[in-house]
């Protein structure tokens, strides 16, 4: 009998506030160690935390964007554990009254991954281990996080990967986080267990901590899934524990026995007052939400007529999708704009983060004009492609590169003469076409485009060439 994977995810998302959750130190990434610190965020006795209002607003937005209900009354709690990354020996988090509860993220299959809760908390400092000594940098200590906790609804690695990608996009679109995984702005803990297919009871779970790459999450789960099956099939038992993923060795290894909530001795944070959010405030947050990625995808497909794959690629990078929308204004076929972006323009970017940044030398209206010229048959698609390359190189308008001659194209009589010459010069290709090899016509069209310097209308040329070849039989 085969084994089934059961997994749940805890995702920590760093919020894009300017200041930390309980003090006014900057949240800027990097910086010399311990230069973004004050007595509050290094936990000196006698200091008092004060909650950042923006943190509450961002968490509520994240909750609404993931279909959660928002608590009108909420509070902060202390989660006690002793580790050098926490100078107070407790983390201020939320226990029994999180800001958001009961949401979901829908996968492409229609399956809903249920979100149990979203709560706010402070990030811990960063530890650098060297030969057993520990160097501590508290710049990150107190940076605001939301933790998004799902139910154990995942049954495959693919579902986890899709969920993380969707969640990342939602957080990015709502503007609550820059979700730069390489900078640790989105980190996942995966709870994973296995059970025999058809069984109702969950197996003992392990937790793999702190992964900041979708690729690592998939690999770590794959390894842990196999490991647990091997242990059970050889008669062993799974220990409830926390494990870490070693990406170099592609293994998970035990860190410590897993704590339960009781071990953390949660109690209400006495230094922070109740958080009260009115229905009006929740409504305001709801109204301020932008169009979310899935809604945008649907609109690109249903209203703008893009193929789903193209639309998915565009919405994956928010700036690209914005650019596409602006460049599509006034054009007949948004698909043409999308084609230029996804082929010619994307070729200039080799990494994901370059696509994410989408630093491009021409504003969207320049591309729009080029597409309109091609649509109105003022220039051929070949001229349009060549022109776009020059525009991208020099950051200038289409008209800076298109000559009057380009705009004139090739009139139909001249084109017919050129087609006849092309067929005569490519007898072999014409014969192959007649014999049923459709692609052979490409050589003839290539000849025409070469001798017209790319100005001939390729579609019309193909039509004329076919007429000539079939007439000559």
């Amino acid at each position: 009998m085969s084994w089934e994977l059961v997994a749940g995810l805890e995702t920590h998302v760093e919020l894009s506030t300017k200041t930390k959750i309980f003090c006014s130190c900057t949240t800027e990434f990097g910086g010399e160690p311990n230069t973004h610190c004050c007595p509050v965020c290094v936990g000196l006795p006698g200091t008092l935390p004060k909650l950042n209002e923006k943190v509450v607003e961002y968490a509520v937005k994240a909750g609404l964007a993931t279909n959660c209900s928002i608590r009108n009354i909420s509070k902060m709690d202390r989660k006690n554990y002793v580790y050098p990354d926490l100078p107070k020996a407790y983390q201020i988090s939320q226990y029994d009254k999180p800001l958001c509860e009961g949401g979901y993220v829908e996968l492409n299959s229609g399956k809903k991954i249920n979100i149990n809760r979203i709560h706010i908390e402070e990030d811990a400092g960063k530890l650098v281990h060297q030969r057993g000594d520990i160097y501590i940098d508290y710049n990150r200590g107190g940076v605001p996080l939301i933790e998004i906790v799902t139910e154990p609804d995942f049954r495959s690695m693919d579902e986890v990967v899709e969920y993380v990608e969707k969640l990342r996009l939602i957080m990015k679109y709502t503007g609550v986080s820059d979700v730069k995984m390489q900078e640790g702005s989105l980190r996942c803990d995966v709870n994973i267990s296995v059970r025999k297919q058809g069984e109702k009871k969950y197996g003992t779970r392990t937790e793999i901590k702190n992964m900041n790459s979708i690729n690592f999450i998939a690999k770590a789960m794959e390894y842990e899934f196999r490991r647990q099956i091997d242990v059970l099939e050889s008669g062993g038992e799974i220990e409830q524990e926390t494990r870490r993923y070693d990406s170099g060795l592609n293994i998970t290894e035990s860190m410590r026995g897993k704590e339960d909530a009781d071990d953390y001795r949660y109690f209400r944070e006495p230094d922070l007052v109740t958080i009260s959010i009115s229905d009006e405030q929740i409504d305001r947050c709801k109204k301020s939400l932008p169009e979310l990625p899935q809604q945008r995808l649907k609109r690109f497909v249903e209203v703008l007529g893009l193929p789903v794959d193209d639309a998915e690629l565009l919405i994956k990078y928010q700036k690209v999708a914005d650019y596409f929308e602006e460049a599509s204004a006034g054009v007949e076929s948004p698909k043409t704009v999308s084609n230029y972006i996804l082929s010619q323009i994307f070729r200039r970017f080799s990494t994901e983060s370059e696509k994410e940044e989408f630093n491009i030398s021409i504003p969207p209206e320049y591309l729009s004009v080029l597409v309109i010229l091609a649509e109105k048959k003022k220039i051929t698609s070949q001229v349009a492609r060549n022109t776009l390359e020059k525009m991208l190189d020099e950051g200038k308008t289409a008209l800076s590169f298109i000559s009057e001659e380009d705009m004139q194209g090739v009139d139909e009589d001249d084109l017919r003469r050129l087609c006849q010459e092309a067929v005569d010069a490519n007898e072999k290709a014409a014969a192959e076409y007649l014999a049923g090899k459709e692609k052979a016509i490409g050589a003839i069209i290539g000849f025409i485009m070469k001798y017209s310097k790319g100005k001939a209308d390729a579609a019309l040329a193909a039509q004329i060439v076919k007429e000539i070849i079939t007439k000559e039989i």
């Binding site: 200041t19 973004h36 509070k75 520990i134 007052v273």
Partner: protein
């Protein structure tokens, strides 16, 4: 119930020396302190924790999202003998 062993254990943890002749008295005192602390259990029944704030009508004490200058690192590290290379430093525990 606090016993003599508890007093000795607390004294050891707190690195305090305790005069043998004072132990009975300390045991009695500590018992009374614990007894007093226990009265809080009777005081908070049926009260939601956030109701406490309603006594003073204090909710939503927020700070605005505006950056203030952080402290000089020297000052931040002062409690840890200046740290090491700008970091708080925890030396490896000896293998004893």
């Amino acid at each position: 119930m606090v016993g003599k062993d508890d007093i000795l254990k607390i004294a050891k943890l707190a690195k305090l020396s305790v005069d043998e002749s004072k132990i009975d008295e300390l045991t009695k005192d500590m018992g009374e302190i614990i007894e007093f602390a226990n009265t809080i259990n009777t005081a908070v029944t049926n009260v939601e924790s956030e109701d406490f704030d309603e006594i003073n009508n204090i909710v939503n004490a927020f700070h605005q999202d505006e950056i203030a200058e952080s402290y000089d690192r020297e000052l931040i590290l002062k409690n840890r003998e200046g740290g090491l290379d700008g970091y708080f430093f925890v030396k490896r525990r000896s293998e004893k």
